[in-house]
């Protein structure tokens, strides 16, 4: 049946078609919708779906299921694979049984990530195949194929879409039948226990498999040569789709350019590379992120002692970073083909106010940051942030995020800063989901090593940034069941933290008082700010402002997007205001009132 599907949904349905039985993952843009779509299409709960505590846990859960002969998939964003790389590297050696797909979404740009690292390298690093779809349609086909390939090889397979495939939709022909089989269950075998001699033997075996896979990739439909020209363009991923559009717009005839499209990228289809390099007089490689296809072509050139000139990222022709958009690609292609670009008579842009993303109106993080800021007024302090909506606390007027590195790093970076900058009050902010994902180790480290830092846990009862997923503290699972909620306070207590307090950040005075106490405490202190994200809480009536004097204190202090200025007076947008009441306590003239009190 033909359906308009988001790339991520296409991958999910591909996995369902292939008979996936276990899907685990950790939310992360642009990968999140894959697991969510499986959960939404989980007829009769035949598939086990979970949000895991982090990517490492997720990958291991999927691996265990695969050991039993079940097809499994683990989903994450590219930086998530850094966390899961420990099990992945070893799993490549030990191998798997049921087809196992490691879905890792890359984010050229980057648009919503810390880095724009290229997961294709991980395939090379771990010696496992990598598939790189160019469209949602192809992503569906690749997902189905990936399970089969993985099972045949006994190796996990990486399916690596990028944002512009994950969040694009296409018209996908979904197969209605589902691959049926009964997993055998766990069969004891020394091969599941990794030991140095086994690793050595398996390493030899995996290397032996590489040329076979490469040969399969020479002939697979995801890799192809189009056109017959003497000038060759090699590309992969979404860049293939855009390059094709550019060639159409430029009316380049098929016999002018030979296009090499690579979707099954590792192990490199070296036979196809050789054929391409032999057929063309020169080649240009267009790919986002790192020159992976390009390096593969150079390997072939070197091994076959060929001299076809290849340009791309390695010789500086193509930009090394960021997305490759239509206009850049057009320029590269025109230069390569010796065509002049006809400047389109286009509409000139106009200077406009910037619109960076902001914490929502009514967001409890705004209150938490403000409470710390107010309590620390006049004291030298540093705020170490972490990954989540609260990274947006760096923006004006709050300016309460001085560092941000990776998941869970705030707590440990804070410890390092405090060792050197002893006179400064150091705060580490971390959300509830991030705390479970990778915050607890940092707390243990702080307590064990007698650090003197202040940890602020922003418990908003959800994984907000990625679209409000449940986590171990919420007690809701992706199988629609309940589990015992893990109480963050109890975890902190068990970790032997000397000072802990829980407070609602909207109770501004109490919140600021708690922060002062925590800062004055010698040793590790923890403040748990408890207030739900607006997406999981019911709104209160919008506040009203009567007789604003125009001092602008509220706007300058908290910058809530529901507040506007008109002719020097502040007004509140009813449709946006959540009635959180934070601004009420800030107005010096007490001009802001709760909506229901009037």
């Amino acid at each position: 049946m033909k359906q308009v599907l988001l790339g991520n949904a296409a991958i999910a349905l591909g996995a369902v078609t292939a008979g996936v039985k276990v899907v685990s993952g950790y939310p992360g843009t642009p990968s999140t919708e894959v697991l969510q779509t499986v959960a939404q299409n989980n007829i009769n709960k035949k598939i086990y779906v979970e949000w895991s505590a982090n990517e490492k846990a997720a990958l291991e859960v999927a691996a265990g299921a695969s050991y039993c002969g079940a097809r499994s998939m683990v989903t994450m964003k590219q930086v998530g694979l850094n966390v899961a790389s420990d099990p992945l590297m070893s799993l490549a050696i030990v191998g798997i049984k049921g087809g196992m797909v490691v879905l890792v979404a890359d984010d050229p740009g980057p648009i919503s990530s810390q880095t724009e690292q290229d997961t294709r390298h991980f395939g090379e690093f771990a010696n496992i195949p990598v598939l790189d779809p160019s469209s949602p349609e192809e992503a569906y086909e690749m997902a189905v194929y990936a399970f089969d390939l993985s099972e045949r090889l006994g190796l996990p397979v990486i399916l690596r879409p990028t944002t512009k495939v994950c969040h694009a939709s296409g018209t996908v022909d979904v197969i209605d039948t589902v691959y049926e089989y009964e997993p055998e269950g766990f069969v004891k075998d020394p091969g599941w226990v990794i030991f140095p001699p086994l690793s050595y033997r398996r390493h030899l075996e995996i290397e032996r498999q590489q040329p076979e896979i490469s040969y399969e990739f020479d002939n697979i439909s995801f890799n192809l040569i189009r056109g017959t020209g003497k000038k060759g363009i090699a590309c992969g991923g979404v860049t293939y789709a855009i390059v094709s559009d550019v060639l159409n717009e430029l009316n380049v005839p098929e016999n002018d350019v030979m296009l090499l499209k690579i979707g099954a990228v590792f192990p490199a289809p070296s036979g196809l590379y050789e054929k391409f390099l032999k057929s063309v007089e020169k080649a240009l490689v267009l790919e986002e992120l790192d020159p992976v296809i390009e390096t593969g072509l150079f390997h072939t050139l070197a091994l076959k002692r060929m001299t076809t000139p290849v340009s791309g990222k390695l010789d500086g022709t193509v930009t090394p970073a960021g997305e490759l958009k239509f206009d850049n690609l057009k320029k590269y292609i025109c230069d390569f083909l010796g065509m002049t670009i006809n400047e389109k008579n286009s509409i000139k842009s106009m200077e406009l106010p910037a619109r960076p993303p902001v914490l929502c109106a009514g967001c409890p993080h705004r209150a938490s940051f403000y409470a710390v800021k107010r309590a620390m007024k006049g004291r030298k302090h540093v705020s170490c942030g972490d990954i989540g909506c609260y990274t947006l606390g760096n923006a004006k007027p709050l300016e309460m995020t001085d560092t941000c590195l990776c998941m869970g790093a705030g707590i440990t970076i804070a410890q390092g800063i405090k060792r050197i900058d002893a006179e400064t009050d150091v705060f580490a902010f971390i959300g509830d989901s991030t705390f479970f994902a990778s915050g607890m180790t940092g707390v243990a480290n702080a307590v064990y090593n007698n650090s003197n830092i202040n940890i602020v846990i922003l418990d908003n009862s959800t994984t907000a940034m990625t679209g409000h997923q449940p986590h171990p503290g919420t007690g809701k699972t992706m199988m629609q069941t309940e589990s015992p909620k893990i109480d963050i306070g109890a975890v902190i207590k068990a970790l032997n933290v000397g000072f802990t307090t829980r407070v609602n950040p909207f109770d501004l005075d109490a919140a600021a008082e708690a922060v002062k106490e925590a800062a004055d405490y010698e040793g590790v202190s923890v403040i748990i700010f408890e207030a739900p994200c607006i997406a999981v809480a019911k709104p209160e009536k919008a506040v009203t402002i009567d007789g604003c004097t125009g001092c602008m204190r509220c706007i300058k202090e908290i910058g809530c997007p529901a507040m506007h200025t008109d002719n020097g007076r502040v007004s509140v947008d009813d449709a946006l205001c959540y009635g959180c009441g934070l601004c009420i306590g800030i107005c010096p003239g007490k001009k802001i009132r709760r909506g229901d009190s009037c």
Partner: protein, 195 residues
């Protein structure tokens, strides 16, 4: 046909793009593609959706390639105007959403200048879609209302039956009626815009 939808994170642009793409496929378009903004920008940042119903490879409309710009917010309409073809058409919601940078006094939102810029660069239709949507029952219906307006202006090559079917498939059953009301409201308002 290439349609660019622009707005502010949280306004529901993705639903509009789904309705257009699904409607086109129901009508027999060989394929429809969309490209969405999902991520950090959804927290009040700039968002765009690309909708392509013609036979292209990529879901992303090149700059200067859109036939129609459907903007949920005035300033975002101006920001994305260079995406429009020369001679393209824009349907613009005049309701403003002030970026925090403006409230903090770091930048200026000059409505008149922005409107002038849009008018002088394309064929543009302006309407206060927020006000109309609220009248239909919810500000949230602004997306479907704007689709209705574009349809009423004769700017979409998608049939009404298919658009309605797409609305039905993509909104919760309890909101279906309200969304149809919003679509019709937009469609009727288009008559006054056509003059």
């Amino acid at each position: 046909m290439d349609i660019l939808i622009s707005g502010v994170g949280g306004q529901g642009t993705i639903l509009a793009s789904k309705i257009l793409a699904n409607g086109a496929v129901t009508d027999g378009s060989k394929r429809a593609r969309t490209g969405e903004t999902i991520g950090m920008s959804q927290r009040g940042g700039c968002v765009v959706s690309h909708v392509r119903t013609s036979d292209t490879y990529s879901p992303y409309i090149p700059a200067g390639g859109a036939d129609l710009l459907l903007s949920f917010e005035l300033c975002e309409g101006a920001r994305n105007l260079p995406m429009l073809k020369k001679g393209g058409t824009a349907v613009i919601n005049t309701a403003k959403i002030n970026p925090v940078t403006v409230s903090l006094g770091a930048s200026v939102y000059d409505e008149e200048k922005i409107t002038e810029y849009i008018k002088s660069n394309c064929k543009a239709y302006f309407l206060d879609a927020d006000r109309l949507a609220k009248k239909c029952g919810s500000l949230k219906a602004v997306n479907v209302l704007l689709v209705g307006t574009a349809f009423g202006l004769g700017l979409l090559d998608i049939s009404k039956t298919s658009l309605y079917a797409a609305i039905k498939n993509n909104v919760k059953p309890e909101f279906y009626k309200m969304n149809i009301k919003a679509f019709e409201c937009g469609e009727n308002y288009a008559l006054t815009l056509k003059g």
